[in-house]
């Protein structure tokens, strides 16, 4: 046990961000906010698309941290405990990411045709749309939005509180807190399955109120978890390079993160093909427009680029064992997947609203602003507790982990 004490203490005071990094992140946030303010004045629908894409994408990353923790607690997994603070940092971003997502409500007329004046009359004339009117209306949409974001934030806050309480507990207390986190995780998994599916229907699928896909929520979930694993992997690699986690996280932990990234990249591709294949084969007039729009003209390069970044590149790069254990290669693959995850959301949202892809300086500035905000909030969360959860009952197992 003395080995664990030594490792925990060596991480106690490790700084997670430099003053320069804080300054750069703050500058990015300011520039992003400026881009949003100016953009909304001159090119509103384009910027609302960006706000929905970034809001949804960064909220997905935060939720992925929460989901990652929940499944690890429910599976009684031991290997990951040395990196537990990293998904926890992502999880503590759920309330931070909920607010920008909530702001999308004010852009609803630019994004969702069914919120525009006069649309209820069109809805009433089409039986398929008329049946949706009880669900797709503005008051209920807002209620659901607030409810989902609120419930997720409550789970994130409760889990984080239990985790910090465990740090200060004696022998008996730490098991009590662990069981508490297992119960919270079980509750979250059930709630999350329903709420995240509905949130994906509301925020993304209803961009085209006529279109439906029964696989849609699986597709967005696969995107969420893949990008989330990439974010966790990238943060772990960065923390190790900075020396903060190097004492506790070895090649075996990286190897396992690499295996998860590799496996869920394949899972994402599997679901992506499933949805595309079924709609392409069926060729039904109410389903096929989704892919007709996305595979024509200027949208086609984006449509091809998305599976290349989310599947082909990480698949080929991470196929070998040596690559999964190499922090540089693994970190590089994680960056590619993170970019692919953003483009995946953009490829769902933008073709429904804009006549052609508009990826330029504005998108870069806004996304960099969100990333800066996330960096500040995540490093703040990482800095507020020891980087090793010293009272986690699985910590000794994780420190001895060998894959």
């Amino acid at each position: 046990m003395s080995e664990i004490t030594a490792k925990t203490e060596s991480l106690e005071t490790a700084p997670v961000r430099t003053r320069t990094a804080t300054g750069v992140a703050l500058a990015l946030v300011v520039m992003g906010a400026a881009a949003i303010t100016l953009g909304l004045r001159f090119d509103a629908s384009r910027v609302w698309v960006d706000l929905l894409v970034d809001g949804y994408y960064f909220l997905s990353l935060a939720l992925a941290g929460l989901f990652f923790l929940a499944i690890k607690y429910l599976a009684s997994a031991g290997w990951w405990t040395a990196v537990r603070r990293v998904p926890e940092a992502l999880m503590s971003l759920v309330p931070v990411a909920a607010l920008p997502m909530l702001a999308v409500w004010f852009g609803r007329h630019a994004l969702y045709p069914w919120t525009r004046p006069g649309y209820p009359r069109i809805m009433a004339t089409e039986p398929a749309l008329a049946a949706k009117a009880a669900y797709l209306n503005e008051p209920f949409f807002l209620v659901r939005m607030v409810l989902f974001l609120g419930v997720w934030s409550v789970f994130a806050v409760l889990l984080r509180r239990a985790s910090l309480a465990q740090d200060g507990q004696a022998q008996d207390g730490k098991h009590h807190q662990h069981r508490r986190m297992v119960r919270l995780s079980a509750g979250f998994i059930v709630v999350f399955a329903v709420t995240f599916s509905l949130a994906s229907f509301d925020w993304l699928m209803s961009l085209d109120p006529r279109w439906t896909s029964t696989l849609f929520a699986v597709h967005t979930f696969a995107g969420l978890f893949l990008a989330g694993i990439a974010a966790i992997t990238l943060i772990v690699v960065r923390l190790r390079r900075g020396g903060s986690l190097a004492a506790a996280v070895g090649g075996s932990h990286l190897h396992d993160l690499g295996k998860l990234l590799f496996a869920f990249s394949i899972f994402w591709a599997y679901i992506w093909v499933c949805q595309y294949l079924l709609i392409w084969y069926g060729n039904l007039s109410e389903e096929i427009p989704y892919y007709v729009v996305r595979t024509r003209g200027a949208w086609l390069p984006l449509f091809i680029l998305i599976p290349v970044l989310n599947w082909l590149v990480p698949f080929l790069v991470l196929l070998s064992r040596a690559a999964k254990r190499n922090p540089r290669v693994l970190g590089g693959a994680a960056v590619v997947v993170l970019a692919g995850g953003w483009l995946n959301v953009y490829g769902i949202v933008a073709p429904a609203v804009l006549p052609g892809p508009r990826l330029g300086v504005i998108e870069l500035l806004i996304t960099a602003g969100y990333a800066g905000l996330f960096f500040l909030a995540a490093t703040r969360s990482l800095g507020r507790a020891p980087l090793l959860a010293r009272n986690d009952p699985f910590l000794p197992e994780s420190l001895r982990h060998h894959a």
Binding site: V273, L277, Y281, R400
Partner: protein, 186 residues
């Protein structure tokens, strides 16, 4: 004790710490470890033995590529080259339609090739006569089998005993001449 020219020393250990220490010391002193038998996977043993990486992944890759080639080849030849089929008005060479079968055959042949190669190389399923070198080898003991290539049996016994061996016995070239295990104080 004058050591035999060839043969093996069989040492059983009660715990993995002792076994790992023994493997490291005998290898440092120039002995060859013939094999190690453990009731469960011992972490760090592969590194201590300097065991080479398994070549099984290459078999998987070859099987998977064979499956992929077979699936794509069969479908393209059947549905595009030999007898173009009109399915729902779609072009005959609709690669997307070939994807499920290509995926499944890739996985299937990759998996079957891996399993077959594993069974063949490890000799599982082949008829063999068990030869129990140490009585507790099928129970809880962790057993190290040391090759006595150049004699030095006395030195080897000394090292194994110092590392904490519970029991050490000598295994001669042929089974008939196998000596009775000698009790050794741990």
């Amino acid at each position: 004790m004058s050591g035999p020219v060839s043969g093996q020393l069989v040492a059983s250990f009660a715990g993995e710490t002792e076994l790992l220490a023994a493997v490291r010391t005998v290898r440092e002193r120039g002995f060859r470890v013939h094999d190690v038998f453990t009731p469960y996977a011992v972490h760090g043993l592969d590194e201590a033995l300097a065991a080479p990486r398994s070549r099984l992944p290459w078999v998987t890759l070859a099987g998977a590529l064979a499956g992929l080639t077979a699936a794509v080849g069969l479908q393209v030849w059947c549905a595009v080259v030999d007898w173009p089929l009109d399915v729902g008005g779609k072009p005959a060479n609709s690669a997307l339609a070939f994807l499920p079968i290509s995926f499944e055959l890739t996985i299937l042949l990759g998996g079957l090739a891996t399993a077959a190669a594993f069974f063949w190389r490890s000799g599982l399923g082949r008829r063999f006569e068990p030869r129990l070198a140490a009585p507790d080898i099928t129970d809880d003991a962790l057993v190290l089998v040391l090759a006595l290539d150049d004699g030095r049996e006395g030195e080897a016994r000394e090292l194994l005993r110092a590392a904490g061996a519970r029991e050490i016995s000598t295994l001669r070239e042929t089974r008939e001449t196998r000596e009775a295990p000698e009790e050794t104080a741990a």
